[in-house]
Amino acid sequence: MAILALICGAPPCAAAADPATFVEVGEAAGIQFVHIGGHTAEKYMIETLGSGVCFLDYDGDGLQDLYFVQSGTVPGRQGPKAGDALYRNIGGGRFADVTAAAGIAEFGYSMGCAAGDIEGDGDVDIYVTNFGPDVLFRNNGDGTFTDVTQAAGTSNPLWSSSAAFADYDADGDLDLYVANYVDFAMDNNKMCGDLPRRIRTYCHPDAYEGVPDALYRNQGDGTFRDVAAEAGLTRRYGKGLGVVWSDLDLDGDLDLYIANDSVPNALYRNEGNGKLLDVTLASNTCCSEDGRPQAGMGVDAGDIDGDGRFDLIVTNLSGEPNELYRNLGGMRFEIISFPSGFAAVSLPFVGFGANIFEFDNDGDQDIMVVNGHIIDNIALLNDASTYEQRAFLFENLGGGRVREVGRERGAYFSGVFVGRGLALADLDLDGDLDAAINNHDQRARLLRNDGGNARHWLRLQLRGHGAGNRDAIGGLAAVTAGGRRQVDEVRSGTSYGSENERALHFGLGDAGSAEQIEIRWPSGARTRVEGAAADQILVIFEP
């Protein structure tokens, strides 16, 4: 076992006098990215979704860089040529646009991104989901990328949204799940709206058929093969928008949950033999409490109630509650959306990106959700709705309850935006988690967490052995501090079209150290660390 205390963060304040507050610092940090939705009078459905954002350390310097996904001008139209953007974290809270220098030239009408080291060569590669063929950028290890889509066999011509890496078959390398949406095409754009009144709106997903998702198995030679059908993903096609891999039954392999739009969500239990078994209905995670499919958008997993099992959240459309599925064990879930305090406030909002995370280091998992309607002229149709909407920050109150506190925690949460992608990382390495947001047709935002580090924290960077899965995606960590045990796992994907940093962040509250750290590696190996000082990043290597 090897452990490296990599960086010691700033010492926490003696007392948690000021609560954690999020301060918008995007422009000051050098983030100039503006998302372009390319809205047209024809109301092409692709214009509604918007794009994600990924944190990744592409140059391996220990600082989290940013990849912003761009939509741009819709295919076949004239307009500004806008592409995805890669920003290098140059320290001191500053970013530099290195898109061109890195060889990133992605001008597709893009939706989301995922990051993973597909070859196990020690640097992180990028997958971009598109309306049209997706793109896989291999990291050359020298600060540049090469488009290897064709050679890798991951072009996926369907309209894809979110993607997530995981070693689902436990063969030591990273596979990739890509959620695909509907069979919309530019030449089958349907007329939707109230045409006699000459008000055209975007079509409901019912207007189009769902298309199958893709499960790309890494063949270990730089190529992938879609094994969705042979893995058992045979249920009727969803209209996928969010995806997360998580060990929901704590049996050592990663299960798969997909948020679908207007059709039931899907939960697949990993059978451990390369097969995924559909357990959606029996698990009580398909729908609302009333058994009705909803418009699932963003998704994440995390232990909200502190019982050591990963719960699920899904963001939905206005008029539908955002859902919190409490994990009861044995692949059974209880819907606690309303009693938890997560749902009621969400009813007038359209939720997209969502993450379960620790923002105030008090030792429990909080939630951030970004909102924004999908119909830009919604005010013409319903003056109780708005296109731009405020974002949410939920503080965990304990006992499976949360409270929306956004407006108490930063001016950003009082403003209104068209929220889509949301990703989290400690971008300034000060011991609390910051956020990046890709707003539709708006400037990207960077929310710096100020004061979240007033309490103690501990960050774990897991390093898997062998050639594949170096970031130990699927690795599970349990940290016991101050008598409280917390669990988290390394995940790819989550939220909407977005990706968080790989490090696991634990708030320790008043505890100056962790009594114990337990790691369960994707390989099944275990590591135990007794006694670790707080307020540091520990890099833990798989034995």
Binding site: P196, C203, D206, A207, G291, L317, F338, P339, L380, A384
Partner: protein, 350 residues
């Protein structure tokens, strides 16, 4: 996503409001009002009954200016505003009514409805409690407060309220359903099962009751019962999805110019849902495209007899009457169309 929002919103409203008719009893206060105000009230009621809520609100607003402290005019105005999705204005009017009629129940119920739509359940509960303090057997307040207490996880309180509710209204399926959920959360599985089954007995196609019966049986390890309920749930869910898909197929065929094929789809849908004005309108549009004007006219008129809130039907009806040499009827239909200002959030398909 849009239609889902509408469906969900309707679901929430019906769940909350179903203990009492969703529409207010349209009072006729004209007799005691000044003639001008009475005229506006009558016009507003006409609009309201046709689902033209913004127009109704405009008429009631004029009546209110002439009779500012008439409680029923105020109720009508506020309710029309709420239906027109003008929450802030509705809230303001309900509050104004309470200002001159502080013991009134209806504005409290209205304010609660606005609060629920805005996701402020705590505020809504407060209004329902105020109603129950004044009228302990008010079914709307009893059911909705029970529903909200359940939503908040206060299961014992929810149970007590809902048990009072079903004692007063034993055939109220949503109350039995919500009581079933509540008892399930309290661990009283047998009683929960009875209530959910009662909801199913009252409404055999109650998909949500079947879904929760399935869940209850899964947890109880009653595999055969769970499989049975799953089959029913899946069947109902598939049927609803098939209907939606079929409508999509009809629309696709229509847009592709295959009007005969679209007509066949609408005929099939009408066999399943013979009272659907929307599907009948679809037939009418097909006839229209096939130059079968008489049949189109009959379908449009039939559609409006089933559902008078179809602006598209009035729009095409006006053109048909004009073509068929009936200008007066064309003018009336055109006016009806223009009056229907409530724009549906969702796809029209055409």
């Amino acid at each position: 996503m849009v239609a889902a929002a509408v469906a969900a919103a309707c679901l929430a409203v019906s769940a909350v409001g179903s203990a009492r008719a969703e529409e207010p009893a349209v009072a006729t206060p004209q007799a005691r009002l000044p003639p001008e105000a009475a005229r506006w009230v009558q016009e507003g009621i006409d609009h309201y009954r046709q689902g033209r809520y913004p127009k109704a609100a405009q008429a009631f607003e004029k009546a209110r200016q002439l009779a500012p402290k008439d409680p029923e005019v105020s109720d009508l105005l506020a309710t029309s505003l709420l239906h027109a999705n003008r929450h802030a204005a509705a809230r303001q009017e309900f509050e104004r009514r309470l200002g001159f009629d502080p013991e009134a129940l209806s504005p409290r119920l209205g304010l609660a409805r606005v609060a629920v739509r805005d996701g402020d359940f705590e505020l809504a509960e407060g209004f329902y409690r105020e109603v129950l303090e004044r009228a302990p057997t008010d079914l709307t307040a009893l059911y909705n407060l029970g529903w909200l207490r359940y939503r908040d996880g206060a299961y014992e309180q929810a149970r007590d309220l809902l048990q009072r509710m079903v004692a007063l209204a034993p055939d109220h399926a949503p109350a039995h359903y919500t009581l079933g959920l509540t008892l399930d959360r309290l661990g009283d599985i047998g009683a929960a099962e009875r209530e959910l089954k009662r909801a199913v007995a009252l409404e055999p196609d109650n998909v949500r009751a079947h879904y929760n019966l399935m869940n209850l049986y899964v947890r109880a390890g009653r595999d055969a019962d769970a499989a049975h309920e799953r089959e029913i749930y899946q069947g109902l869910a598939d049927r609803f999805a098939a209907d939606r898909a079929a409508e999509g197929t009809a629309r696709d065929r229509f847009l592709a110019g295959d009007y005969a094929g679209a007509l066949q789809e609408y005929d099939r849908l009408l066999l399943l849902h013979p009272q659907s004005g929307r599907f009948e309108l679809g037939r009418g549009l097909c006839f229209l495209k096939m130059d079968r004007d008489r049949e189109a006219l009959a379908s449009m008129e039939k559609a409006l007899s089933m559902d008078s809130r179809l602006p598209d039907a009035y729009f095409h009806l006006a053109a048909l009457y004009q073509r068929l040499g009936q200008p007066e009827k064309a003018r009336t239909a055109r006016e009806r169309y223009e009056d229907l200002e409530t724009i549906r959030e969702g796809k029209s398909g055409f």
